[in-house]
C-alpha cells in the first residue's frame, strides 16, 4: 500500500524495516540517537537532521552513538561487517570523508580482492551531500565521483523517496561495501512509497521521462532540475529523455548508450565539480561507445572548479539550474 512520505521518512523506514528483519543490522554514527551519556533525553536528535529519529527506542542497543571519531567508528563498522554484522554507519556530511577515507578505500574496498575473495564486507556508509543549504565549502560537496573511482565500492545516489527506500534496503542486504548518498535538499521531497519492504536493484537506471530529441543524464538532485527543464523544453517542441542512473557504481551504461543512440544528443547534469566527475565520465563513455550516433557535441552542465561558496548570491550561481539545462539542451538540438 503506497502513500506519500518524504525522502527522509523513506530512509528512516528502510532502516527500521531492515533492523526488524535482521538482528545483524546496526546503526552507528555521531548523534544517530543523540544524548548518549547525557542527563537529558535519549534519542534527542535522531541524527543531525532527524533522519534516524525513533530507531533508538525501537531497536534497543542497536542504534549506537559514537565519539566524533570518523576513522574510528567507520573502521569499526567495517570490522564488524567482516564478521557478519550489517552495520549502517552514518558519516553525517560526506565532506567528512577526508578524516576517514583510509578505512573506506584502503580497507573496506580492497579486502575482498586483496584477500583472494575470502572476505565479505557488507557495510553501508550513509552520508548527506550537496549544495543549497548555505553550508559553504566544507558541508556542501558531492564527492560521489571519488567513491565511484574506487573498485570494490558501490555508490548509490537516490533522487526520490521511492528509490531512497528501495535502494537503502538493497544496500543493507548487499554483501559489498556501499556508499549511500542522500542529497540534503531532497529530505523534504514527498513521493509515493509502498509501506511494505522492497528493493531497487543496483546498476539499473530509471528512464524518468521518455523523449526522442535529447538525452539528459542527471545525478541525484539534478534529476528534479532536469525534469523542470524538460517540462519547459517540451513547450518549445524539444522532447527530452531523462535518465537517472540511481547508482554510479555499478553504472547502467546500456540504458545511457541506448538512449543516446536513439536521440543522438547528450546533456549530462552533475552538481559536482566538473573535472574527473560523473559528467566527464559519462561523456567519455558515450564518446567512446556511441560516437557514430552523436549529432552534436556532448554538453556537461555541472558546478564549477571552485569550492562551493557561502553567499546565496554565489551558491545559486554555483548549482546547475533548470535554465542552464534548457540552454544546453537547446544548443545541442540546434547544433548544425
Amino acid at each position: 500500500m503506497a502513500r506519500k512520505i518524504t525522502y527522509q521518512q523513506a530512509i528512516n523506514e528502510a532502516l527500521d524495516q531492515e533492523m526488524s528483519r535482521d538482528q545483524n543490522v546496526i546503526v552507528m554514527g555521531e548523534d544517530v540517537a543523540g544524548g548518549a551519556g547525557s542527563p537529558g533525553e535519549q534519542d534527542a536528535w535522531g541524527g543531525v537532521l532527524g533522519v534516524t529519529r525513533g530507531l533508538y527506542h525501537k531497536h534497543p542497543g542497536r542504534v549506537i552513538d559514537t565519539p566524533i571519531s570518523e576513522s574510528g567508528y567507520v573502521g569499526a563498522a567495517i570490522g564488524a561487517a567482516c564478521c557478519g554484522m550489517r552495520p549502517v554507519a552514518e558519516l553525517m556530511f560526506v565532506d567528512f570523508l577526508g578524516v576517514c577515507f583510509d578505512q573506506i578505500f584502503n580497507q573496506a574496498a580492497k579486502f575482498r580482492y586483496m584477500f583472494g575473495g575470502k572476505a565479505e564486507t557488507p557495510v553501508v556508509i550513509r552520508a548527506m551531500y550537496g549544495a543549497g543549504f548555505r553550508a559553504a565549502a566544507q558541508h556542501s560537496q558531492c564527492l560521489y565521483n571519488i567513491f565511484t573511482h574506487i573498485p570494490g565500492l558501490k555508490v548509490v545516489v537516490p533522487s526520490n523517496p521511492y528509490d531512497a527506500k528501495g535502494l537503502l534496503i538493497q544496500s543493507i542486504r548487499d554483501n559489498d561495501p556501499v556508499i549511500f548518498l542522500e542529497h540534503k535538499a531532497l529530505y523534504t521531497m514527498e513521493g509515493e512509497v509502498p509501506e511494505e519492504s522492497y528493493t531497487v536493484p543496483f546498476g539499473e537506471a530509471a528512464v524518468v521521462r521518455e523523449g526522442h530529441d535529447v538525452t539528459i543524464v542527471a545525478i541525484g538532485r539534478m534529476v528534479q532540475k532536469a525534469q523542470e527543464a524538460a517540462a519547459d523544453l517540451q513547450k518549445q517542441g524539444i522532447h527530452c529523455e531523462i535518465i537517472d542512473p540511481r547508482t554510479t557504481s555499478p553504472l547502467d551504461t546500456d540504458t545511457i548508450l541506448e538512449s543516446v543512440e536513439k536521440t543522438g544528443r547528450l546533456v549530462v547534469v552533475d552538481e559536482s565539480h566538473p573535472r574527473c566527475s560523473m559528467a566527464s565520465d559519462i561523456a567519455g563513455l558515450v564518446a567512446e561507445n556511441a560516437f557514430g550516433s552523436l549529432k552534436a557535441p556532448i554538453r556537461q552542465v555541472t558546478g564549477y572548479h571552485a569550492p562551493v561558496p557561502f553567499s546565496d548570491a554565489l551558491e545559486e550561481l554555483y548549482i546547475p539550474s533548470a535554465a542552464k539545462i534548457i540552454a544546453a539542451a537547446k544548443s545541442v538540438k540546434e547544433y548544425k
Binding site: G72, G75, A76, G79, A80, C82, G84, Q103, D174
Partner: protein
C-alpha cells in the same frame, strides 16, 4: 549496557602453560624465525617480488599473545605481519606461496606479503597502512559484544603506528564502548628509519593508556613468558567484560624496515648484541631445558621439522602456478 571497568591488570590470572603448550610455543616461534630467515636469504636472490618486512627477533610477541587466543578471536596485524599470521594459525605453506605471488597463496596471489589474511582463523589481515587495524578490531570486538560472545580482538601495531590518529581514535572508542580489545604495541625501536626515542613523546607507549581510561603495561618483548602473562591478563580481563587494555612489548627486529634496508641508522653491532644476549628463542630454550620440562633433543627435533616444512613450502611456492589474466577481475565484488 556496560559493566564497571577497573584499571588493574593484576587481578586476573593467566592460564598456566602445560608441556604441550611449551612445545607449541617453541614450534610457533621457530616456524616464524625459519620462515623469515629463509625469506631474507631468498630475497637477496632477487626472485621474491615487492616489499617484504621481516618479523625475525619479535617472535615472542606474536606467540605470547596468540597462545591466549582461539580461532574465534580476531587479530589485526601490520605490514610486518608474517609472525602474527603464523602465530594465529595461518598455514605457512599458503603464506609462502602468497609471497611468491602464486595462485595457491593464502590470498590467491592478490595480496602479497603486506595483505595476508585468513578470516577463518580470525586473522583480519596484515595491513599496508600504518595504524589501519585499530578501528577494525573495534568492529570485530563490537560484534562479539553485541552477540554476547566471549571473543576478544587484538590490534598489533608498532611504535610508528602509536602516533597515528587511528590508534588514538580506536583506543578512545574501545574504552567508551568498553570493548574486548587489546592494543598490543610492538615497540621495536624504529618506525622505518626513525627512532622511537625521537618520535614517541612519552617514555613508554603504555603511558598513554591512562589518557584513554584503560590499564597499560610495558613488558620485555624478548621474554615469551612475560608477554604471555601480560597479554593473558589483558585478554582474560577483556573476556570477562573488563574492557580494553594497552600492552607494550619492547623488542627488536633483526632485519631492516624492509629487505634491502642498509640500516645505517642503527648502532654498529646493535643487532648482533641483541641476538647474542636477548634472543627470544635462546632464552626460551634455556629456560625450559634447564627447568627439566623439555629436553634439548625435543627442541632439536622441532627445529628439523620446521626446517623441512619451510624448505618444502619454498619448493612448492616456486613450482606453483601464477595467476592468469582470468583472475585479474575476479573477487573485486561479491556481485556487480
Amino acid at each position: 549496557m556496560y559493566p564497571q571497568k577497573s584499571n588493574n591488570l593484576e587481578t586476573t590470572v593467566t592460564k598456566p602453560l602445560t608441556r604441550e603448550d611449551l612445545l607449541k610455543a617453541y614450534r610457533t616461534m621457530r616456524t616464524i624465525r625459519e620462515f623469515e630467515e629463509r625469506l631474507h636469504t631468498d630475497f637477496a636472490t632477487g626472485e621474491i617480488p615487492g616489499f617484504v618486512h621481516l618479523y625475525a627477533g619479535e617472535e615472542a610477541s606474536a606467540t605470547g599473545v596468540c597462545m591466549n587466543l582461539t580461532a574465534e578471536d580476531h587479530i589485526a596485524s601490520t605490514h610486518r605481519g608474517h609472525g602474527h599470521c603464523i602465530a594465529k594459525g595461518v598455514d605457512p605453506v599458503g603464506m609462502m606461496a602468497e609471497i611468491w605471488g602464486r595462485t595457491t597463496g593464502t590470498c590467491k596471489g592478490k595480496g602479497g606479503s603486506m595483505h595476508i589474511a585468513d578470516l577463518s582463523v580470525g586473522m583480519l589481515g596484515a595491513n599496508g597502512i600504518v595504524g589501519g587495524g585499530g578501528p577494525l578490531v573495534c568492529g570485530t570486538a563490537l560484534a562479539a559484544k553485541l552477540r554476547g560472545q566471549p571473543y576478544v580482538s587484538v590490534c598489533f601495531f608498532g611504535d610508528g603506528a602509536s602516533n597515528q590518529g587511528t590508534i588514538f581514535e580506536a583506543m578512545n572508542l574501545a574504552s567508551v564502548w568498553n570493548l574486548p580489545v587489546i592494543f598490543l604495541a610492538e615497540n621495536n625501536g624504529y618506525a622505518e628509519a626513525t627512532s622511537s626515542n625521537f618520535s614517541v613523546a612519552c617514555d613508554n607507549i603504555a603511558d598513554r593508556a591512562s589518557a584513554f581510561g584503560m590499564p597499560g603495561i610495558t613488558v620485555d618483548g624478548f621474554d615469551f613468558f612475560a608477554v604471555y602473562e601480560a597479554a593473558g591478563a589483558a585478554i582474560e580481563r577483556a573476556r570477562q567484560g573488563g574492557g580494553p587494555s594497552l600492552v607494550e612489548v619492547k623488542l627488536s627486529r633483526y632485519y631492516g624496515h624492509f629487505e634491502g634496508d642498509q640500516q645505517t641508522y642503527r648502532a654498529p653491532g646493535e643487532v648482533q648484541n641483541i641476538r647474542d644476549t636477548k634472543d627470544c628463542l635462546l632464552q626460551f630454550a634455556r629456560r625450559v631445558t634447564s627447568s627439566g620440562q623439555i629436553a634439548q633433543a625435543e627442541l632439536d627435533a622441532i627445529d628439523a621439522e620446521v626446517k623441512a616444512l619451510i624448505d618444502g613450502s619454498v619448493v612448492k611456492a616456486k613450482s606453483d602456478p601464477k595467476p592468469t589474466e582470468a583472475d585479474l577481475l575476479t573477487d573485486v565484488y561479491v556481485s556487480y
